[in-house]
């Protein structure tokens, strides 16, 4: 590893991995954790904890319930099922699901146009399977994914009548970013992607519709097809930078420093897109735990909901949570556009904030919520609720004002008020 990499992604000193750091790691990677889980991570240490998270993400998974969801044919149930997995229900790896969500946001495809739940769930399964795979492999799978072909008219792309949608988004939104390709590259890449159709829920390339003539992409001329196009695109220096930027925004900070992103991109190149190794280094780096990066992101509705679930257990049924997440602005399987969700500050608006408050009230009123505090005395409730939901402690003046308001309330009412107020506090929206 280069000296530059060592400097910019240097590991956190082992004695610096305290409860606060463990809570930060588990919130970013698994959306949230109970105090017990935080203590367990502290006890284990940073390296074994990160290794455990990555081992879990690489372990075999079972998403066979998708067959039943296709039979049921209801998008809202599919959303509920995935939201449950994102909260770790059923013992699945939250990191794998989190990466699947990142790829769903990057290769944003919507049921609104695809209109086939089976295709949407198949794409979801592919993204889950390739969650930690080398990025070129994922790009290749997405370019010939049936729902992506329908979504971006890739199935209409024929020799002599190229459709540029998929090729343009490949460069602009999926792999390179604006400024790293020319208009001619797009036109030629569209020809390289021609011939693909969707039939019987499967994608296949029909030779007679494929443009077999030479194409010039990134100043190289040859008979590009989808595989050659993926190789050429992911070999561009901008591609690793693009992916590194995405990972940094998801795991570290919404506006990461350019040199750190470049270092992470170098690491991706150096490891030949070994995402597991890159994440391991990133999640153990001083940069990841830097003060300026703590609670620097606004939680997405899915993160918010999954965090509450992981911290409190129980909660509203998965369908109700998925519907709430949709109202808060994150409609799984139906991102607003091919750009996916804007995220961060865009999560908070006049309407979506009201929905967060309503969702907080529903969590607080859920019959399962008191179980997390069953053994806590009335007087100790504020401390117990803050310790579980806001381990970094809320602002003292806010906490004091809230505690004063609890005086006249019964234990149950006080608990509900504390949980609701904490879940919709400004601090709780930051992860």
């Amino acid at each position: 590893m280069s000296a530059r990499l060592d400097e910019l992604l240097s590991p956190l000193a082992s004695d610096a991995f305290d409860a606060s750091a463990a809570e930060h790691l588990l919130t970013r990677v698994e959306f949230g954790a109970t105090p017990e889980r935080v203590a367990e991570a502290c006890e284990a240490g940073l390296k074994p904890t990160v290794a455990g998270l990555l081992e879990g993400a690489a372990a075999p998974f079972d998403d066979s319930a998708q067959t039943d969801l296709i039979a049921l044919g209801r998008l809202d149930l599919a959303q509920a099922w995935w939201l449950g997995r994102l909260a770790g229900e059923g013992g699945c790896s939250v990191l794998r699901e989190r990466l699947t969500l990142i790829w769903h946001g990057l290769f944003a495809t919507s049921q609104a146009k695809v209109q086939d739940l089976a295709l949407m769930l198949r794409q979801n399964s592919t993204q889950r399977e390739l969650a930690l795979a080398p990025f070129p492999q994922l790009v290749r799978a997405m370019l010939v994914d049936p729902s992506m072909l329908v979504w971006l008219d890739g199935d209409q792309n024929r020799v002599g009548r190229p459709n540029e949608n998929l090729a343009r988004e490949l460069f602009e939104l999926f792999a390179l970013g604006i400024g790293n390709y020319t208009e001619r590259d797009v036109l030629e890449a569209a020809r390289a992607l021609s011939g693909w159709t969707v039939s019987g829920r499967a994608a296949r390339c029909r030779e007679r519709w494929f443009d077999g003539a030479p194409k010039t992409i990134f100043d190289e001329t040859r008979n590009f097809d989808v595989d050659a196009l993926v190789d050429a695109t992911t070999s561009q220096p901008a591609c690793a930078r693009f992916v590194a930027g995405r990972l940094a925004r998801e795991f570290v900070h919404p506006n990461p420093e350019t040199d750190r992103v470049e270092a992470l991109a170098d690491l991706l190149r150096a490891t030949e897109w070994d995402l597991g190794r890159c994440l391991s280094q990133l999640l153990r780096s001083e940069w990841f735990f830097a003060e300026s990066n703590l609670r620097a992101r606004i939680a997405s509705p899915v993160e918010w909901s999954s965090r509450a679930r992981r911290q409190l257990g129980g909660g509203p049924a998965r369908l109700a949570r998925a519907q709430a997440a949709s109202r808060m602005g994150q409609d799984l399987f139906q991102p607003p556009s091919v750009k996916g969700w804007d995220g961060h500050r865009a999560w908070i608006g006049a309407a979506t904030w009201i929905e967060r408050e309503r969702a907080a009230l529903r969590w607080a009123r859920d019959p399962s919520t008191p179980a997390a505090f069953a053994d806590v005395e009335r007087a100790d409730l504020p401390a117990a609720v803050f310790a579980r939901l806001l381990p970094e402690r809320p602002r003292p003046e806010w906490a004091a004002a809230l505690e004063r308001d609890l005086d006249a309330l019964s234990r149950d009412e006080a608990l509900r008020t504390l949980v609701a107020a904490t879940l919709c506090s400004p601090e709780y929206q930051l992860v």
Partner: protein, 605 residues
């Protein structure tokens, strides 16, 4: 719930105090009561808006809670476990039973063995609610009340000072609370929000005959028809619907008024039929619940239906009623839908706001009939009596849906079949073709349409393209419609195999010979639970996943929640009959054991 329990205890404690004080005067009180031992409805005012009477309330509760048809639905912890704060209530009942040394149900029998009556009305524009329990005898009532007061004092000793505030009105003892008045006269105990109503309900005062509920013509023409016909445990109710709608509107609630609008809603007329959609315009409704040893029956009379939409109700029996039964039958219905009159007289039958879209849809449908006009040329030749059959179907060579729903067929009787059969057939082909165009414009797969012929039979079908082996099909694969003219019938089925089955059955039925019937015209629906239960059981895993995602818990827990309903369906059959009179309609819903229904059907073949 806690508040309710405490209020009840307080009320009963007060009553019990009265019983304690008056034990020496029981005989004279009993004599007073016997003077007013007329029917409970004589003791409610003519302006009562809702009235419920159970002549054997405790028997009804006992019969319902232990009924064999409902047994599969009984929660593990018993019915009481489903009540809010069930633990608290069970603890109170346990204390009561310990004090009494006998089951709580027997105490209930002592208190209400002579019946229960409840009335709701308006007194000076304020709601007046009155409940009266008729004890088995003054002695048994007094003993039961004493036990309740003992329990009340044990649970709430602070009630003692309240018990002293008793007022005497003749032989009636009254206790006035903030919102209610409680009274006791002999074996009758009652509670009301209006003192005068309570005194009348207890029989201590009397309304003039013309002011009694029994003098209400609507009441006597509906309630009285049902009351007295119950053999087993039961209850009767009556609602002055017309007046209740006005009262609820005065109170700012428009839900009931919306019920009255269904009759002029073409969608409701089409879906619910002329009977159910016109219930909202009845002057009053009477109900009868009868719980027999094997079955449960609910009867409803909607009386004095307004003239609105009277022309949509049947005035004659069906021309030819088929007897279509099969081993896999889920449901069979004989319905009356007079679309010809509805479209012909739409200006008077349909609400003005619904008329433009209705007419626009009619004009769109005209385009399907090759120059004929649906309202003028086609609908008048369709008999309003329609049969609907629903059956489980066997698997065929095509891709099955992941969740199998029962197939449904609609059978129309066509008066000029030679002429209109082909017209209807091509109209449905046009619908599939047009929907395919619409789907193609949205990038969706089309339905594949085919004309089939087998011997002298021909029919049209449409289906989704088969999926590759191993692919799971969605719910839409339950829809593979097929349609054909069969003699003087036109049949539209959701599945080709059901249509083919009906070909044979219809050919074997002499559909041209009208069945003479002197009975009033009636719509009928029959649902067989066991076939439904089998369908549910076969896909329990998938239904459990849906239930777990929707309602919480894991799939195993959700399956545990669904299974009681499957077991309930396994043992039950439902029969619904709607009979039409000249100005009223009667509806009967019967839940009967499935094996008895099957035996009856077998005997009827």
């Amino acid at each position: 719930m806690q508040t309710l329990i405490l209020t009840l205890l307080l009320a009963l404690s007060l009553l019990s105090q009265g019983a304690e004080v008056s034990q020496g005067a029981e005989v004279s009180q009993g004599a007073e009561v016997s003077q007013g031992a007329e029917a409970p409805a004589e003791r409610f005012a003519i302006d009562t808006l809702a009235y419920v009477q159970a002549d054997n309330g405790h028997e009804l509760l006992a019969a319902l809670s232990g009924h064999p048809l409902l047994e599969p639905l009984r929660p593990d912890g018993g019915w009481l476990s489903q009540v809010e704060n069930a633990d608290e209530l069970e603890s109170v009942l346990a204390q009561l039973e310990e004090l009494a040394g006998r089951p709580a149900m027997s105490l209930l029998e002592d208190l209400s063995g002579g019946g229960v009556a409840f009335g709701f009305g308006l007194r000076r524009l304020k709601p007046a609610v009155t409940l009266v329990l008729e004890g088995a005898s003054p002695e048994r009532s007094a003993t039961a009340l004493q036990l309740l007061v003992d329990l009340g004092l044990e649970l709430k000793p602070e009630l003692k000072h309240v018990l002293a505030a008793v007022e005497q009105r003749g032989d009636v003892r009254l206790w006035k609370l903030d919102q209610a008045v409680i009274g006791q006269l002999g074996s009758r105990v009652g509670v009301s929000t209006n003192e005068r109503s309570l005194l009348v309900a207890l029989g201590a005062e009397r309304e003039p005959e013309r002011r009694r509920l029994s003098a209400n013509e609507a009441f006597s023409s509906a309630f009285a028809q049902l009351h007295g016909t119950t053999d087993g445990a039961g209850a009767h109710a009556w609602i002055a619907l017309e007046k209740l709608v006005i009262a609820s509107q005065l109170g700012g609630d428009s839900d009931l008024a919306e019920l009255a609008l269904l009759v002029s809603d073409p969608g409701a007329q089409g879906l619910l039929g002329p009977g159910i959609s016109s219930i909202g315009i009845a002057r009053s409704l009477a109900f009868e619940l009868e719980v027999g040893a094997d079955d449960i029956d609910l009867g409803v009379i909607a009386e004095s239906l307004a003239d609105t939409a009277a022309s949509l109700r049947p005035t004659r029996a069906p021309v030819a009623q088929l007897d279509l039964t099969a081993s896999g039958q889920v449901a069979h219905a004989l319905l009356y839908r007079d679309y010809a009159t509805l479209t012909d007289r739409r200006a008077e039958l349909i609400a003005p706001e619904s008329l433009p879209p209705f007419s626009a849809q009619l004009a769109e449908l005209d385009t399907l009939f090759g120059g004929l006009r649906l309202a003028e040329d086609v609908l008048p030749d369709l008999d309003p009596w329609i049969e609907v059959v629903s059956r489980r179907i066997a698997k065929d060579a095509h891709t099955p849906p992941g969740i199998q729903l029962p197939a449904i067929a609609v059978l129309l009787h066509v008066q000029d079949a030679e002429h209109h059969g082909p017209t209807l057939e091509s109209a449905l082909q046009n619908i599939v073709a047009l929907s395919n165009v619409d789907r193609a414009q949205n990038g969706l797969r089309p339905m594949l349409m085919r004309l089939q012929r087998e011997g002298d039979r021909s029919w049209s079908t449409a289906r989704w393209a088969d999926l590759p082996e191993g692919e799971v099909a969605g719910l839409e694969y339950n829809f593979a419609p097929a349609w054909a003219q069969v003699g003087n019938r036109f049949v539209v089925a959701t599945h080709e195999s059901l249509l083919i089955d009906l070909f044979d059955e219809l050919h074997a039925t002499d559909t041209d010979v009208p069945k003479a019937s002197s009975a009033p015209p009636a719509e009928r629906l029959s649902v067989r639970g066991p076939v439904l239960a089998e369908l549910l059981r076969n896909q329990l895993e998938r239904l459990a996943l849906a239930a777990a995602l929707s309602s919480g818990g894991d799939s195993a827990e959700a399956a545990g929640r669904i299974e009681p309903f499957v077991n309930f369906a396994q043992g039950a059959a439902l029969e619904v009959v709607i009979e039409y009179g000249s100005t009223d309609l009667r509806a009967g819903l019967s839940l009967v054991p499935a094996d008895r229904k099957a035996a009856l059907q077998e005997a009827g073949r």
